[in-house]
Symmetry: C2
Subunit: 458 residues, 2 copies
């Protein structure tokens, strides 16, 4: 990038907020995946106006701009594969308002989501979306990927909470869309168009989310199923009974054994599945619901049902589910965590297909995820240094996506398409939907400078 442009960027954000040394740029070259690519420059604006000025320069010059939160993404959505500007929003980290009367909060895009959740919780309010990355990822990144989490079964994903956005367009124009009115049919729903658009349509600089009252109580159960198919049926039976647990998490036997190898907490190695279920509400509801859930699980063939009596016991039960991901690091040098979703009736079939794919390609695939909403995270364990194994991983990924799509599902429930899933998008959406999306992309970013090489097939 030429010196004059660097100077221009320095004039906008100050010289210290424009990074060009290789050691600095490395920090902006990766995310939560195994991919990396260095930007030409990393720029750290402190305000929406600075973002706007940066984009005006980039638009004039046709320089790629890759917006970035904390780089915890799992789809290579924030890797600057075309170089250009890595636009880090982490300095825009102020919570601007907690509005009690309307039960909403407004934050700059760079606020860590856990900080936002804690700030509203301190005032008795509740921001439900709980991506696993909640302590690292930013609310702006969560909006870009429409992040989910275990609690999204009952409470919905990030997009369900976004009421309003401040957005900077590719050409630097700033606009606001949405508002604090709960219902709104005035023109097209630009808020939900921006949510999940992975920084390809605009740079989100401010987010207003709605909040709930904090449920006073929760109860947790860990339910063992000798047979996986029974666990799948239990999920549907619980939901059909009109009980909506906050979470309904599945671990298959590979996940159970991985965690047991790691923690030695006495998980049933021979069980085909565990469900970790949490109910919430007031004390009476949470307790009654967990008992109803336990009864339904028993009717559907559950073995042991452990209901936590205390918060400490509940933490213990959750430890099993939370340790799946960390435990996998012990097994093989690399893991590729996918994020497919299927209609929840298809979960048992999807799990069967995953086991078949694992055998076919001779690769361990650990299965866990959000069974209640059909969002599974099959994790392939491998060693990237082995080219043959890496080839098999790529074939397995293709097979996984094909199976999900065949069962009426989608490539991604909460991670996004990013760069990694682009080759499979057409298989999922078909050519006409992609053409419509391309036309929208062109309409909003005619020069194609915003996060190029993401979402759309090459």
């Amino acid at each position: 990038m030429n010196e004059q442009i660097i100077e221009e960027l320095q004039n906008i954000v100050g010289p210290e907020q424009v990074l060009t040394s290789p050691e600095d740029l490395i920090c902006y070259s990766y995310d939560g995946t195994f991919t990396e690519h260095r930007p030409d420059v990393a720029v750290l604006p402190a305000s929406t106006e600075e973002v706007s000025e940066i984009l005006k320069v980039a638009y004039r010059e046709g320089i790629p701009v890759v917006p970035r939160g904390m780089g915890s993404g799992l789809a290579a959505g924030s890797i600057p594969f075309s170089g250009g500007i890595a636009l880090s929003l982490t300095r825009m980290n102020r919570i601007l308002e907690i509005d009690h009367d309307n039960m909403m909060a407004t934050a700059q895009a760079g606020v860590i989501t856990a900080d936002l959740a804690a700030a509203v919780e301190a005032e008795g309010l509740f921001y439900p979306p709980d991506p696993a990355s909640i302590r690292q990822s930013t609310i702006g990144g969560n909006v870009a990927a429409n992040a989910g989490g275990p609690r999204c079964l009952k409470y919905g994903v990030t997009g369900d909470y976004v009421m309003a956005l401040e957005v900077v367009l590719a050409d630097g124009r700033i606009f606001r869309t949405g508002g604090k009115a709960i219902k709104n049919v005035t023109g097209y729903n630009l808020v939900q168009l921006m949510v999940g658009s992975e920084g390809t349509l605009g740079v989100v600089t401010e987010v207003t989310v709605k909040l709930l009252a904090m449920p006073p109580a929760k109860r947790t159960a860990l339910v063992t199923f000798p047979r996986l198919a029974d666990a799948g049926r239990a999920v549907n039976a619980v939901l059909s009974a009109g009980i909506l647990p906050a979470t309904l998490e599945l671990m298959d036997e590979t996940a159970i054994n991985s965690v047991e190898d790691y923690l030695h907490i006495g998980l049933p190695r021979e069980a085909e599945a565990i469900l970790v279920i949490e109910t919430d509400g007031d004390e009476a509801d949470a307790s009654r619901d967990i008992e109803v859930v336990a009864d339904i699980c028993r009717q559907e063939g559950a073995g042991e049902v452990r209901v936590a009596a205390t918060a400490a016991e509940s933490d213990e039960l959750w430890q099993a589910r939370r340790s799946v991901s960390p435990s996998l690091g012990q097994k093989r040098p690399n893991k590729l965590g996918e994020d497919i979703t299927v209609p929840r009736s298809a979960i048992p079939e999807m799990v069967a297909r995953l086991k078949e794919i694992s055998r076919k390609h001779d690769l361990p695939i650990v299965i866990f995820g959000h069974a209640g909403d059909g969002n599974l995270h099959p994790n392939i364990l491998f060693d990237r240094r082995d080219p043959d194994e890496w080839e098999r991983v790529q074939q397995a990924v293709g097979d996984i996506f094909a199976a999900a799509v065949e069962l009426g599902g989608a490539l991604s429930g909460e991670h996004g398409v990013g760069a990694l899933k682009r080759p499979y998008l057409e298989m999922n959406l078909g050519p006409i939907a992609i053409d419509v999306m391309r036309n929208i992309k062109k309409a909003l970013d005619p020069k194609g400078i915003l996060n190029p090489g993401k979402i759309f097939p090459a």
Copy 2:
């Protein structure tokens, strides 16, 4: 329209489904407003393929196409002001599937929403959105306007239930977007872009909605407030207490008196407000919640609190709220029902402004609506034959919108922009958001044939 095109349309749908006589066209010239304009032809396709073929002809010839359900809209969104083809979807009225395992239903666009709700209810399932037009309007029309209703406070609007759509584009191409996977971040959210787009981006031909388990019990209360401001505070106090009633409906004193003049059921004429509140859930929850709500209302200054003991009593209480609209017809020859929304903290201020606007323009404005979600329906009563009065009505409408926008609200919560609110859209959204929307419109409908003259300012 020339004979050759008429013949082509007849070849697509059959001669009897192409209407050209003046007496037939009158039926397709109006909606729920006071506006009307005749199309050149009304065409009634029976399938998505026929819709596609019709659009191919229209696209080739540059003929306006105005999609239409049952014509119950309240924003002149389906009036064919530019002539062309009125595309009635009412023959596409089959419920295609009720999927118990995934708790979803799929219907053609022309299914009456009440028929869909009844069909799923017969199987123990629940489709919550309940627009006042539910017995007349179609699910396709509800999607086009993102229809709401009283129950949307707890359960959300139509768009919150739309999982997947089949859409015919302006050029006749057919595509599906969304699916039965609950979480989905694969490309842009075209489902929510279509929802509320009022037939300007594509013709929705099939809709898949998610369903809930039917709540087994509900309880209703009618609460009288001597002072309106107290009713506003009670609404916020209830919601802040973590109680989410199914409905939280407001009637101001003008609405109370209008209904009392009409029904003579002993409503408190001197009260400044009534709230009609319904809780639901299982028997214990619904009963407990209505008691908590009643207590909170008393603390906030309620006078009489009537809690229905039986379903029949509950119907009686609802009769008051349901009769507001019909009662207004007795008062003056015409009424103009607006649909503004404000952040719910601003409801008392909005009501005060409405009263001021009523005085300023010497026009009765009856106020009622969905207080829990900030969506009010101020109804201006007038006689359109009086040109001076009509002029004052238009000024009052402008003042109402200006007040709503100033308080952080929107022009429409559930009726849409249509033709009637176009002049005010820029005041609400600003020029940049409208430019973005125009670019999206151009990207999807480059010839501008789909429902021209709607949403966008002239």
